[in-house]
Structures are given as structure tokens and as C-alpha cells.
């Protein structure tokens, strides 16, 4: 099985040869890989180098935490990759963005209103949780739609708050 794996803009061609060997960009490594206590924490020995990392699926990519550093990583199998290139790619920039509450909390303020144009990075909502005020920002330019909550309301985790189209 061959994968194209992208870390920080850098592409690696990773072939899983068998249980104990991978080929990365033409170089073969001996690997020993196992999950620790059934958790998404993995002990990985590559040619004798012992590593331990946390790996979990994020929204659109894999998040790998290794030696105090977070690597967002995309892993695609070659066939997928080819299909996607043919289709033209670039999904994230279009379509609706639904802001959901990342945790339960109290809506302190909603500094935007329906129909308002917002920029990427602009604060959409301030949510108080664990004694902290947290700014929830827009991931892209767009227009605020369907504001479903009011300041002063408490919300549950994952509750839909508003959308940016």
C-alpha cells in the first residue's frame, strides 16, 4: 500500500511494505509500531530510534504530537490522491462553515450580526468556560448567517451557534 503523506507542506511517498518495513521516498526503514495501553498513543521504533507520539484524526487531517511539537498531517492513498487531483481539489474554501460550541459554556457576546460580512480571523463569538473567555474566530471570509443563540445563553458542546457562508 502506497500513501502520499504531507507534513508542513512537504510530501513523503510512504509505502507500507509489511508489518516491519516501510519505504519512505525510496529508503527502506525497519519499523516496530504499537499502540500503548489501547490509547491513541503509539510507540514507534524506526531503525532503532524510539519515539512516542499521539496521533488522532482531526477535522480534515491527522494531528500528530511528537516530542513537544504538533504536526498536522494529511495521509492519502495514491488512488485517492489521483482522483482528487483530477477533480480539482480545494474543498475547504467553499461551502458553509458551521460554528459549533467547542465546549459547554456561556455565550458572553456575539460581536457580529446576521448578514454582516466578516474576514478570516475575525471574532464571531465569545464563549466563557472554565473561568476563561474564549474568542471563536471565522476560519475564512464570508457572511454571517443563521445566528441561533443570544448573548447570555448557555450552550452545550457541539451545539450549532451560527454559520458563515
Amino acid at each position: 500500500m502506497r500513501y502520499i503523506t504531507t507534513v508542513e507542506g512537504k510530501q513523503f511517498l510512504v509505502e507500507i511494505i509489511d508489518e516491519k518495513h516501510v519505504n519512505v521516498d525510496g529508503r527502506v526503514y525497519e519499523v516496530d509500531f504499537e499502540s500503548v495501553s489501547g490509547q491513541p498513543v503509539y510507540s514507534l521504533i524506526v531503525d532503532g530510534r524510539s519515539h512516542e507520539g499521539y496521533a488522532a484524526r482531526g477535522e480534515e487531517d491527522w494531528q500528530v504530537l511528537l516530542r513537544g511539537r504538533l504536526y498536522p498531517i494529511t495521509v492519502e492513498d495514491e488512488r485517492e490522491k489521483r482522483l482528487r487531483s483530477a477533480a480539482g481539489g480545494g474543498v475547504a474554501e467553499t461551502g458553509e462553515f458551521h460554528l459549533r460550541a467547542p465546549m459547554p459554556g456561556l455565550v458572553v457576546a456575539i460581536p457580529v450580526e446576521e448578514g454582516q460580512a466578516v474576514k478570516r480571523g475575525q471574532v464571531l463569538l465569545i464563549l466563557e468556560s472554565m473561568k476563561m473567555q474564549n474568542e471563536l474566530k471565522s476560519p475564512r471570509d464570508g457572511t454571517v448567517e443563521r445566528v441561533r443563540i443570544k448573548a447570555g445563553e448557555t450552550v452545550e458542546q457541539k451545539q450549532a451557534l451560527l454559520s458563515v457562508t
Binding site: Y3, A55, M103, P104
Partner: protein, 502 residues
């Protein structure tokens, strides 16, 4: 000796206090909210009583219920920890009235230090330096402020009397630009707080936050246990503390300590307490405020002095004299504390909630962990995000940093995101290693990305790991399909498979 102490707190500090009591042979009473039935302080205490629903105002802030429980179970003292009711003079008073020893200062000392203007006036009278300015001088006109400004000196800050959060705040470099800035500050204060009053304060440049730990008993003995360096903050929240401070030498320590003792005596202080100072580059220091309670960061002082501050608090509350005289307080080595918060350092330090599924504590020589959580415990959004304090001791500051690095690398918490990567990045930062930082460092001159750039990249290893995990997941999915082919009735697996491939 007390027979039974009620610990009016939760989390790591409740556990810390329970430990001290147990080592003194005193029974402990835990109180808990509905969200905390499984909390470690409930598991470790000798007795435990439910206070009320999860929100603090319905549980940990319910002084009436606390005292009712204390009476009912026959506790003879109450330890408030920090936060919640620790700096409420009315609670301390209510304890006294209920014939319960409040393990803390007298209500009058709490009150005197609780009001900022009064505290300032009190310590000024005692000859303690404060940041020069016009706070506490009443509302002044522009003319009066402009006349006063040169005496304070530039640069200075215009601050809103009713203010906070930087609203109505202006930095002034010279007298010329001051009139315009006064106008705009007043306008902003008026619109933000409905109150346009402002005051002036000297801008302390490159300021460090350095605080002195003191102990004071009922026999009039007041000693200081050296200082803590707490400049690494984000949104006024301390993130990391050191004892002693790399910016303070013996002479300065003595000078600050003497002033701290003076401030404590000015309010007739009894108990452990902390005097916070701003320290500038020229070794001028200014009183900020006094915390009339045990501090989060007290362990770094314990590590370098060998003095158990909580046990001393209990001793003082029993009316005994301090175990140490000033000349017996010695400093050995260096200690660092990292506050481990359930928050995502890669996403604007957003708090993270959830169930801790795994936790592997760093241990071994010179490492101490104070925590109230364990695998299986649920981090709820009701309380502070600090879930542990990781404290290390080293013979020197350099050795403490190296030890903290290895301890952070060993610490595994799965189930919530934590700021451990932030601390790891900090430990690798040259500014931190050099001890060259001030209170603005984290917010203005530190970034996870930039600081990370100097580090060796393990991108290729990360790529291999992600690919292996993704591959295994794909294989598992395939096995599930195969299994389903043999047992089509098991609709749940099919559903999951479909969801995964939508």
C-alpha cells in the same frame, strides 16, 4: 492540635491540604459539588459531604452550607485553600463566629488588603514603595493631571478608574502628546464603563512580577522565605513560576524581603501570605498587592527552602510560634513549576474538556506533581482549567530546566488537550534559558510556531507514524467489512462503515 479540618476547596489544592493534615494526624473533611463526586479530594479525605450542584456559586461558594457541614461533622478548623472563599473577610468572620478556626489571616487583614486603594494607602503609610501615580487621589481634572505628570515621569500610563482589560488605557511618552491622549482615554472610558474618570501611573518598563512569600505567627514573628519569579503570564494568568528569581541577588532579596515584612506588619498579618511586586530593570520594586492566602505556586518555595508551608499555616492557626527563625531560612538549588492546564496551545489556549483516559506521571529524582485528576476523571467546564502542577528541583537553574524538560517529555495525558507543548517550547526558548523575560514576554514576544522553528524537526517520523496509524485504521475498516459479509445482521458495524466513508 486540631482534630478535624474541613477543606473548603477542590482539585489539587484540596488534595495538597489533605496530605498535610494526614501527615500531621489530623482528620480531614472534603466537600464536593455534584460534578466532583469522583474527585481525588473526595477519595482521599476521611469524610466527604455534598455541597450542591456543579456551578461554584451553588457549591464551593456557599459559605452557609460549608459552615453547616463543618458544625455538623464537628470540624474545629477550616482551610480555604486559594480562590473561592479564601479572600473573603466575611467568610473568615463567619468561621470565627461559629467557633471554628479559619486557617488564614484575621478578617481585618483580608479586608485591608482586599480593597486596592486602601491597601495602597496602608502600605504607603508603612513606607512601602508603590508604583508612582495618582490612584487613590480622587478624580482629577486634565489640568491637575497634566501638572502632576512630570513629577511621575514619562513614559506613563493613563488608566480608567472604573476600568480593566486595557479599555481607556493609553501609553504616554511625553507631556506634548498627553492632552490628546487624555481626551481619547476619557472618551473610551466613558463609552466602555459610563465613567470617564482616569488616573496616571508610571509605566514600569521591562517589569518582572516577583513576589515574596512570608509567614507570620500570632506571636509577632514575621519571616520571609525568599521570592518567586512569576513573570511568565498570559492574560494575567501565571503559567510558570521559579524560585528563586534569576533577576534577584542576595542584596535585593533582603531589601524586598524587609519591605514585604513591613507590609505584612502594617496590616497586623498572621498566616502565610504573599506580597506581589513589580521589579524593573534598575532593581526598583513597587508593591502591587498582597495575597492573603496560600498561593498556587507555593511548592517552588517549599522545594528550595525545605519548609512545608501548609504545615506551617496549620501550626500558626493553632497559635504556635513559627518553626523557623529568619536566619534559619536557607535556599538550596532551584525550583520551577509548570502549570498544566487543560487547554489547546495550538488553538489560542482554548480550554479543553473531556474524560482523561490515560495519565502517566513523570516521577524520579527531584520531581513533584500536585494534581487532583487521574485516569477516568472527567474534566468539566465548571472550574479552573489547571489540572496539575509539575514542579522540579535542581542543584542549579540549568539543571532544573533540564530536569523539567525530561519530566515534560515523560508526562502523558490522553483525553484532554494540555499546554504541555507550550511548556516544552518555553524550556527550549533561549530567552527563557537566559532568564531574560518580563511580564509581556509570552503575549508579545513568544509564539509556539516561531519558537518551534529552532527545534529539530521530526517531520519524517511524524509522517511515518501518521501513515501507519491511517493504514491500520483502513485495514481495520476492511476487516469489519469482511466480518459484516459473514454476518449481515450486525447492522451497527455497517452503519459505522458507511459513516466513515461518506
Amino acid at each position: 492540635m486540631f482534630k478535624k479540618v474541613l477543606v473548603a476547596n477542590r482539585g489539587e489544592i484540596a488534595v495538597r491540604i489533605i496530605r498535610a493534615c494526614r501527615e500531621l494526624g489530623i482528620d480531614t473533611v472534603a466537600v464536593y459539588s455534584e460534578a466532583d463526586r469522583s474527585a481525588l479530594h473526595v477519595r482521599y479525605a476521611d469524610e466527604a459531604y455534598l455541597l450542591g450542584p456543579a456551578p461554584a456559586r451553588e457549591s464551593y461558594l456557599r459559605a452557609d452550607k460549608l459552615l453547616e457541614i463543618a458544625r455538623k461533622c464537628g470540624a474545629d478548623a477550616v482551610h480555604p485553600g486559594y480562590g473561592f472563599l479564601a479572600e473573603r473577610d466575611d467568610f473568615a468572620e463567619a468561621c470565627e463566629e461559629a467557633d471554628m478556626v479559619f486557617i488564614g489571616p484575621k478578617p481585618s487583614s483580608i479586608a485591608a488588603m482586599g480593597d486596592k486603594a486602601e491597601a495602597r494607602a496602608t502600605v504607603i503609610r508603612a513606607g512601602v514603595p508603590v508604583v508612582p501615580g495618582t490612584e487613590g487621589m480622587g478624580n482629577m481634572t486634565d489640568e491637575a493631571l497634566l501638572a502632576k505628570a512630570p513629577q511621575i515621569g514619562f513614559p506613563l500610563l493613563i488608566k480608567a478608574t472604573a476600568g480593566g482589560g486595557g479599555k481607556g488605557m493609553r501609553e504616554v511618552k511625553s507631556l506634548e502628546e498627553m492632552p490628546d491622549l487624555l481626551q481619547s482615554a476619557r472618551r473610551e472610558a466613558e463609552s466602555s464603563f459610563g465613567n470617564g474618570n482616569v488616573y496616571l501611573e508610571k509605566l514600569v518598563e521591562g517589569a518582572r512580577h516577583v513576589e515574596i512569600q512570608i509567614l507570620a505567627d500570632t506571636h509577632g514573628n514575621v519571616i520571609f522565605l525568599g521570592e518567586r519569579e512569576c513573570s511568565l503570564q498570559r492574560r494575567h494568568q501565571k503559567l510558570l513560576e521559579e524560585a528563586l528569581s534569576p533577576a534577584v541577588d542576595d542584596k535585593l532579596r533582603k531589601a524586598m524581603g524587609d519591605v514585604a515584612v513591613k507590609a505584612a506588619k502594617a496590616v497586623d498579618y498572621v498566616n502565610a501570605g504573599t506580597i506581589e511586586f513589580l521589579l524593573d530593570k534598575d532593581e526598583n520594586f513597587y508593591f502591587l498587592e498582597m495575597n492573603t492566602r496560600l498561593q498556587v505556586e507555593h511548592p517552588v518555595t517549599e522545594m528550595v527552602t525545605g519548609i512545608d508551608i501548609v504545615k506551617e499555616q496549620i501550626r500558626i492557626a493553632r497559635g504556635r510560634a513559627l518553626s523557623y527563625r529568619q536566619e534559619e531560612v536557607r535556599f538550596n538549588g532551584h525550583a520551577i513549576e509548570c502549570r498544566i492546564n487543560a487547554e489547546d496551545p495550538y488553538n489560542n489556549f482554548m480550554p479543553s474538556t473531556g474524560r482523561i483516559t490515560q495519565s502517566l506521571l513523570p516521577t524520579g529524582p527531584g520531581v513533584r506533581v500536585d494534581t487532583g485528576v487521574y485516569p477516568g476523571f472527567e474534566i468539566t467546564p465548571f472550574y479552573d482549567p489547571m489540572i496539575a502542577k509539575l514542579i522540579v528541583w535542581g542543584e542549579t537553574r540549568a539543571q532544573a530546566i533540564l530536569r523539567m524538560r525530561r519530566a515534560l517529555e515523560e508526562y502523558r495525558i490522553v483525553g484532554v488537550k494540555t499546554n504541555i507543548p507550550f511548556h516544552q517550547t518555553m524550556m527550549d526558548s533561549h530567552r527563557f534559558m537566559g532568564g531574560q523575560y518580563d511580564t509581556r514576554f509570552v503575549e508579545e514576544r513568544f509564539s509556539m510556531d516561531e519558537a518551534g522553528e529552532g527545534k529539530q524537526s521530526h517531520a519524517e517520523t511524524a509522517a511515518i507514524l501518521a501513515t501507519l496509524v491511517a493504514h491500520r485504521e483502513t485495514e481495520r475498516s476492511a476487516n469489519i467489512v469482511n466480518r459484516n459479509e459473514r454476518d449481515a445482521s450486525n447492522w451497527r458495524w455497517v452503519g459505522r462503515w458507511e459513516r466513515m466513508h461518506r
